[in-house]
């Protein structure tokens, strides 16, 4: 058996899953399963939200150790699902290590949804979340307009390569400012709670929150803590953005009643 290739395969699978937003314990579990197909005595994996370590050792071979620094995470749940399937097939003996490696390489090049679908979904998301929170049709349309601001902020920060914190902040400022504008001119019809609360929903770090909880339950406190901080910071950036937007509008409009 080609142990080097096996280690590479495990590392690749782990990297894909970690980048795509899998829970840390799931990444470790999948990598360990792949490594254990070698039947070697020592198979260790250690995964943090920012890096992967793996070790494959036995008296019969020279030990293999790989380290991979992971930055630039892009959530893509489909990749987790596909990498999971490949590892399942590999462990069940349906495909060989070589096939698994090539299949994993192929996952990375595949694109699930184009941006022309993701952007409208952001707008629809803002609208629908406003309805979910009890907003009426008018408010959900305005929330859709707010969704456009999220899309604009996303495109802009992607072009300039700025981090998510600034993206959330700027989008929230625009959302709050726009909502206040509508509140000023159409006061009675606006449900500010549902409007702003719904509009910022697509910005909330759903992946980080869920993973923070599930990693902590697994006893993976380092990853759990890191994810908890991540979700708190991202949520706070939206909150601060809303504050700035509302304050800005009330100053510009000469101190209207919020």
């Amino acid at each position: 058996m080609n142990y080097k290739l096996l280690a590479d395969t495990a590392m690749l699978a782990g990297e894909i899953m970690l980048i795509s937003g899998a829970e840390t314990y799931r990444v470790e579990d999948t990598m360990s399963r792949i490594l254990r197909t070698s039947g070697l005595e020592k198979t260790e994996t250690f995964v943090t939200p920012t890096g992967i370590f793996l070790c494959l050792d036995d008296a019969a071979i020279d030990g293999i150790t790989l380290v991979k620094r992971v930055d630039n995470r892009v959530t893509n749940i489909a990749y987790i699902y596909e990498a999971n399937n490949v590892s399942r097939d590999l462990c069940a003996g349906i495909i060989s290590v070589e096939e698994a490696y090539l299949e994993l390489k192929r996952i990375k090049t595949r694109k699930q949804y184009s941006n022309y679908l993701v952007y409208p979904c952001t707008i629809i998301g803002s609208s629908a979340f406003t309805i979910l929170l009890g907003g009426d049709l008018l408010n959900s349309i305005i929330a859709g307009l707010n969704g456009v601001f999220i899309v604009l902020a996303t495109i802009l920060t992607m072009k300039l390569n700025i981090n998510t914190f600034i993206k959330n902040l700027s989008a929230s400022v625009l959302i709050a400012f726009n909502s206040m504008l509508f509140l000023h001119y159409m006061g009675n019809y606006i449900q500010l709670d549902a409007l702003i609360g719904g509009s910022i929903m697509p910005l909330l770090p759903g992946v980080a929150i869920t993973n923070a909880i599930r990693d902590t339950l697994q006893g993976d406190y380092m990853s759990g803590g890191a994810r908890a901080i991540e979700s708190f910071v991202l949520a706070a950036s939206s909150a601060v953005g809303i504050g700035i937007g509302m304050a800005l509008y009330s100053i510009m409009a000469g101190g209207i009643n919020l």
Binding site: I131, L192, G206, A235, A239
Partner: protein
């Protein structure tokens, strides 16, 4: 009115599922998880539970259905859980905290801060419980 909100939840969760890249064949399932979770939350409104309590049962339902789908469809739980739990995440609570802070209403801001933290804790607790139950169940099989 309740039905409209549940439909809104379905559409919202499907849209969010597309954003985070859930595979096409699981989009409807993810939407269902979110819609049922929000339905439970609305359904419990007349019972007299606090918002925090209602959130707990809604999150419990979301986690239950997510785990069931994961077992039935042989897919990771996160596929359904991440998108499905999102409607319960207290976005409005966050807005209310900020709103009351900048209007110098510190008492109310503190109240909502408290409530938002409690809701977050309840969601975590619900996911904890369901994860544990399904792990026991899995070992026995």
């Amino acid at each position: 009115m309740m039905l409209i909100q549940v439909v809104g939840a379905f559409i919202a969760v499907v849209a969010f599922a597309v954003i985070i890249g859930v595979p096409k064949k699981f989009l409807v399932h993810a939407g269902l998880v979110g819609a049922v979770g929000w339905f439970v939350y609305l359904l419990l409104a007349p019972v007299g539970l606090s918002i925090v309590g209602r959130m707990f049962f809604a999150a419990l339902m979301v986690a239950l259905i997510s785990h069931s789908f994961a077992r039935l469809l042989k897919a990771p739980v996160t596929l359904f859980l991440i998108a499905g739990i999102l409607p319960l995440v207290p976005g409005v609570g966050m807005y209310r905290i900020v709103y009351n802070l900048i209007t110098n209403n510190n008492a109310l801001a503190g109240h909502y801060m408290n409530e938002t933290l409690q809701i977050a804790g309840m969601i975590a607790l619900a996911i904890f419980i369901m994860d544990t139950i399904f792990r026991i169940f899995q070992k026995k099989m």
